[in-house]
């Protein structure tokens, strides 16, 4: 009995350990909130925090998709250009006037966007798995392709939503709020909840982690490795599409420079959130925490009025490193 009791004791303790590692990004978040409050009294206001959370939506949602891709051992560098490409197509479709009724048009555009996003993800997945090209190179290639097509579609300029009626109809999708909570925040939470459910509570999620931690073991366990990886890319594409659905009403326009370097930000959010880049473990909630941290750092920079404009990048870099070090030492201590 005593052995058994002991083992229970231990289990609880080691569980606490695991939790702590998952909690670490949230600790870093709290740290930043404190720093922010010291820097500027406006910082901790509801408006400001809601603003920051709202604007972290794009990266957060994309990063949730990236969590799947990275957990399964791959990498997607094309998401930033994919945002530009999908958004361009969406606006072009809405500008085409193919459907007269605005509400119907909007619905059609939303459906189309989701399909295109999933299609782009599928392309990435197939090139990587069926073509057996390192995901880094495969998605670097499609990054160029999506970006190039966007430039071509926009003829080097911007693509702007023209119908004012559609614009007013669509605007609340970013600027509106549900029960006082801004729509983008609601969307982040919904997307993350669904993603967490899929990753932790479904067969597919289990397969993703298995493939990412050892694809041979997965194959010998009868898991269709390539299909699992491809679907992860499709999920990434869907997340990009959702981000686009929020992006278009916000600025009402895209250009060839839309989404530049977002892939880097998304990957950073994932890694800061505690998911290892080598695959085999995914932390969805950590990821959105990571996205929020990144956005907060920028926000604190902007609200603080004593940092030279030129040094912002340097301070941001230092903050990220310091936050990680603090987080590391927190985990080690307890």
């Amino acid at each position: 009995m005593s052995v058994n009791e002991e083992s229970r004791e231990i289990r609880r303790r080691s569980w606490r350990d695991i939790d702590l590692r998952a909690v670490a990004p949230f600790a870093a978040l709290v740290l930043l909130l404190i720093v922010g409050a010291l820097v500027n009294p406006n910082f901790i206001g509801l408006t400001n925090l809601a603003n920051v959370a709202t604007r972290s939506a794009f990266i957060a949602i994309i990063a949730v998709g990236a969590t799947f891709v990275i957990s399964s051992g791959d990498l997607d560098l094309s998401v930033g250009s994919m945002v530009a490409f999908v958004a361009s197509l969406m606006i072009l479709f809405m500008n085409s006037g193919a459907i007269a009724d605005p509400a119907l048009m909007l619905t059609a555009a939303v459906v189309l966007t989701v399909i295109i996003g999933a299609g782009c993800g599928l392309l990435n997945g197939l090139i990587t798995t069926v073509g057996r090209i390192e995901p880094f190179i495969a998605t670097l290639g499609t990054m160029g392709i999506y970006r190039g097509l966007t430039t071509w579609l926009s003829q080097g300029g911007a693509i702007t939503l023209r119908e004012p009626e559609l614009q007013t109809l669509y605007r609340p999708a970013y600027f509106g709020s549900i029960l006082g909570v801004p729509v983008p925040i609601v969307v982040i939470l919904a997307v993350t909840a669904v993603a967490a459910f899929v990753l932790y509570r479904t067969r597919y999620g289990r397969h993703v982690v298995a493939v990412g931690s050892n694809s041979d073991v997965a194959r010998y366990s009868g898991i269709p490795v390539n299909r699992v990886r491809t679907i992860a890319f499709v999920i990434q594409g869907l997340c990009v599409a959702i981000a686009v659905l929020l992006y278009v009403p916000r600025l009402g326009s895209t250009s060839a420079t839309t989404g530049i370097l977002w892939e880097l930000q998304a990957i950073t959010a994932v890694v800061v959130g505690g998911t290892a880049l080598k695959g085999g473990a995914g932390r969805v909630w950590g990821t959105i925490c990571g996205a929020f941290i990144l956005e907060l750092v920028g926000n604190i920079m902007l609200l603080s009025n004593f940092i030279s404009e030129y040094l912002i990048g340097a301070i941001q870099g230092s903050i990220i490193i310091i936050a990680m070090l603090v987080q590391r030492s927190l985990v080690r201590k307890s």
């Binding site: 603003n51 300029g157 839309t258």
Partner: protein, 293 residues
């Protein structure tokens, strides 16, 4: 005296011209704060449109009475600017106009004239070398670049000036160097290079010098950096002229905005800064040796 705050949102110093913008914004901010006790000017830079939209939002959170914005890309920023305007603040847009550019979104528009920058260059080439074969190095695929291209085409209209090629050099000296090297490989005879930006001209000149090609008669750049204006002043044969596109325009806009806030003069509407052709004769007027640009 009551305190007032002006928020200034400009692109990050990511190449020479925007560095100039940052320099002049900060210079004028100091001047204004010295001139008006109680006036606070906050200058914020952002690397891309989405971040700039955030910056505008953050400025609004801090509480501002007027916004001066030089958008990195205007259309994506319309909504963000509109929110400030709708809150009843004074809004000045500098340089780049959104497709809808009227009093619903801003009070004052200080226009840099992008089409004119291209047109002035085109007209100069048409006048000096009417049969020239020209290669063009563009910037990045964004609207202001397109406007400059269109302006250039209008400038050379009706002449024998022939455009051999247009490629993007990303407003970056290293990329311009590469593009020029390849142009030199591709075309045995090039008369004139229009690279529409002084930063890129640095790379272009090195590539020409390396290839020891003598067929290129001159290079037309633009913006008015101190290095290029110096070359014009010194009578450099490769850089006979430069087209002015002054980063100092942001300072002008800030001064006009302050004037509006303090009700010294009622300002509104559009104020265009011209794309002056800098020649050896007038170059000294545009030479600021202290500017980083």
């Amino acid at each position: 005296q009551d305190t007032k705050t002006i928020g200034v949102s400009i692109p990050a110093a990511d190449h020479g011209w925007t560095a100039g913008v940052v320099f002049h914004a900060e210079r004028v901010a100091k001047l204004l704060m010295a001139a008006h006790p109680g006036l606070n000017v906050i200058v914020k830079t952002s690397p891309d449109p989405a971040t700039q939209a955030n910056a505008v939002q953050d400025l609004a959170v801090q509480g501002i009475d007027a916004l001066v914005i030089l958008p990195s890309d205007p259309d994506p920023l319309v909504n963000a600017i509109k929110e400030v305007k709708d809150a009843g603040k004074f809004v000045t847009i500098v340089d780049r106009a959104p497709s809808v550019n009227d009093s619903t979104i801003r009070d004052l528009y200080v226009a840099g004239n992008n089409p004119a920058l291209g047109q002035t260059a085109g007209e100069y080439i048409k006048k000096t070398t009417p049969d020239a074969e020209v290669v063009i190095i563009r910037g990045l695929p964004i609207p202001i670049d397109q406007q400059r291209q269109d302006g250039f085409d209008k400038g050379i209209e009706g002449s024998n000036v022939k455009v051999l090629d247009r490629q993007f050099g990303n407003w970056n000296r290293d990329d311009a160097f590469k593009v020029m090297q390849d142009y030199l490989t591709k075309y045995p005879k090039i008369d004139v290079v229009w690279c529409q930006d002084d930063d890129m001209a640095v790379g272009v000149l090195q590539a020409i010098e390396q290839a020891k090609r003598t067929d290129i008669q001159y290079v037309v750049a633009g913006a008015g950096s101190k290095d290029m204006i110096k070359k014009v002043m010194d009578g450099d044969k490769m850089i006979p002229v430069d087209v002015l596109y002054p980063p100092a325009m942001v300072g002008t806009a800030m001064e006009m905005t302050a004037a509006a806030l303090y009700d010294q003069v009622p300002v509104s509407g559009t104020y265009t800064i011209d794309a002056t052709l800098i020649t050896k004769e007038n170059a000294a007027n545009y030479y600021f040796p202290d500017s980083p640009f």
